[in-house]
Subunit: 390 residues, 2 copies
């Protein structure tokens, strides 16, 4: 089997690096961002648009697809790539996070997890083996084991128990894994350095194609998130890809890259787009603000996306005010293109040896959304998602 | 000024004809269909997609744009074409129909109509002159006068009064009209042959660039609609375009063309698409039906649209079940392309002298939605629209 990953270039001042991730559906240059295509579609976009934005890999979700339309349905229709007409790489998450955040949990033990569907209340029992088989049938390029995710807590016993079960399941996933898909291990351990160290030791000892940092951005402060990312990433093997699960705002990406992260995924860029928040180099702008009603220029004058090339901020504002469906798409195109261009700039700067200065400059100009607002939004969003999907 | 319209070819057996409609933004070959872009967007689509489908002219609405974002806003931003990034012809409806169907009417007299906005309850007074000025500022290629629309009724006095006011307003619109936009006259008169004859006599005596049949499909049976269309179209000058307002289902288009109609508009193809109803040559198919869950082929195997070329019916079914926004777009693309291809086939058959046989064949295979269902849907839709937009 071909080597899955190699580092091409490293930053002399930070842990940032450029890598090549080789998959059956093509090579991805890292650092890279994977937009969420949880239900087999990057919300509002056609696969052609996702290509035009120059997204190199997307993230889908075995939990969502297992419940609807069903794994066997997709398998019969030729696998996930053919089903959704996307011919570039796909990573499928196992859906561990969704089982613990969306579903009504019935029982969890070492064997697996019994839950009720958030869609129709039907009961399902997921095991590490079933999750691997499901992802093999879907046919993604990179797949993830079942893990146990807990929300942020200072109860070390709870976190340790979930971590130990994650290790047990990781080993079973690896044993059951027969395809040529790349299987990554997931590091758990909450905000406890000691547990994170234990988790890295256990998971890397099994030997996976790459390593993911799970259980972060689940309610803890940003400071704590980055402390744990920094410590944990430093312990992971340099020669393998590192994936920070569920984080992908512009500021997260710049900071994560500096700490040695190669892969990011997040529903944030597409979700906030649908709320009218557009990324610019100075921060998110809310296109619903009355000030945009007559703004003749593009929302982000520096951007080369279809939206910014074609429409004024005034028109986009109008579409949002009228709740026209086109609004959500145009904003999504912009935010994803912003992320793709940001990553290109990050890689160029790593290449040129100027990444550290770039990072400082970016973070000095980019006004991130206030932490309190951010946590509130996350709570509201989780609540709404639960209600929406009941 | 260049001649606005000329007939190129006529069917020897029916009143069908091919024509050329010359406008500042290009020539339209008729019969043609105008999709609704009431708020300055063909719902769910970018202008590029509308072009790719090969739509030659769209219909926007002065009433909607007057209320939001405001006529002056669009004028300042370079007019409607530039605002919405559409460089082919546009027809703007005056919004008479919307004032009478959407707004809360306060008072109507010969001077104009006082109403409350369906969006924010603000009070507005529309006059024929204001409507013409608004449409001149928007800059559409073809514009419409203010008319008084009444729902289907057998009270001839009510219909006559509205018709007489429509005539009065038509004359004022024509007097106030100074741009090089083509202004069409609107024929009213409900389902009364005598009134329709009077309306044709009055409106054609003023001399417009084209003639529209208004006040149809407002609650009367289809049989009655076609009786009135047939009688009225026959009285209109052959050398000018005839526009059937607010009708544009596949069966309506085929029937209307046979009666000498050149232009159609309707929100139906795009609206039913968003409900999951896809046109095929045997009638509308509901993609939400469970039978499509595993259908590997395109919804309409004969279609060349992006949706049918790219995705299985199963995938489209999945998107609708998940309420993914992409679903509404993919269905809209298909339905509009279906209409465009139908019109191309109609024109080819007129050209070849085989239109009459084509019409019979089409109507024999196409199963229209049952009249009772249709009227119920229309009621439900109007009610929902009112609620949505309150």
């Amino acid at each position: 089997m071909k080597k899955h990953f190699r580092v091409i270039e490293s930053c002399p001042e930070t842990r940032a690096r450029i890598g090549e991730l080789i998959t059956p559906h093509g090579t991805i240059i890292t650092p890279a961002f994977m937009p969420a295509a949880s239900q087999g579609t990057v919300k509002t976009l056609t696969p052609q648009e996702v290509r035009d934005i120059d997204i190199s890999i997307i993230l889908s979700n075995a939990y969502h697809l297992y419940l609807r339309p069903g794994i066997e349905t997709i398998q019969k229709l030729g696998g996930l790539h053919q089903y959704m007409a996307w011919d570039r790489p796909i990573l499928t998450d196992s859906g561990g996070y969704q089982v613990f955040s969306l579903a009504a949990l019935r029982r969890i033990d070492d064997e697996g997890v019994l839950f009720r569907s958030h869609i129709d209340g039907s009961e399902h029992f997921l095991t590490p083996e079933l999750i691997i088989e499901s992802q093999e049938k879907l046919g993604a390029d990179i797949i993830m084991p079942l893990d146990e995710c807990v929300a942020y807590t200072d109860d070390k016993t709870v976190v340790r128990r979930a971590m130990e079960r994650t290790h047990l399941w990781a080993e079973r996933c690896l044993k059951h894994h027969k395809s040529n898909q790349s299987l990554y291990g997931i590091i758990q351990g909450g905000v406890f350095s000691e547990l994170r160290r234990q988790s890295v030791a256990a998971i890397t000892s099994f030997g996976f194609s790459g390593y993911a940092l799970g259980g972060l951005s689940v309610g803890e402060t940003k400071e704590l998130t980055w402390e744990i990312v920094s410590e944990t990433a430093a312990l992971l093997p340099k020669s393998q890809p590192r994936y920070l699960m569920g984080m992908g705002s512009p500021e997260d990406i710049v900071t994560g890259v500096a700490l040695g992260i190669d892969l990011f995924d997040s529903a944030l860029p597409t979700r906030v787009a649908r709320n009218g928040a557009l990324f610019t180099r100075t921060g998110r702008k809310n296109i619903r603000n009355a000030a945009y009603n007559t703004k003749d220029k593009a929302t982000d004058a520096e951007c080369d996306c279809y939206t910014c090339r074609t429409f004024s901020a005034a028109y986009l504002h109008h579409l949002f005010k009228c709740e026209e469906l086109l609004a959500y798409r145009l904003a999504t195109i912009h935010n994803l293109r912003f992320i793709v261009r940001l990553l290109q700039e990050i890689r160029d700067n790593i290449q040129e040896g100027t990444f550290s200065a770039f990072q400082k400059g970016f973070l000095a100009h980019y006004q991130p959304t206030d932490q309190e607002i951010r946590l509130n939004q996350k709570q509201k969003w989780l609540k709404r998602m639960l209600n929406d999907q009941k």
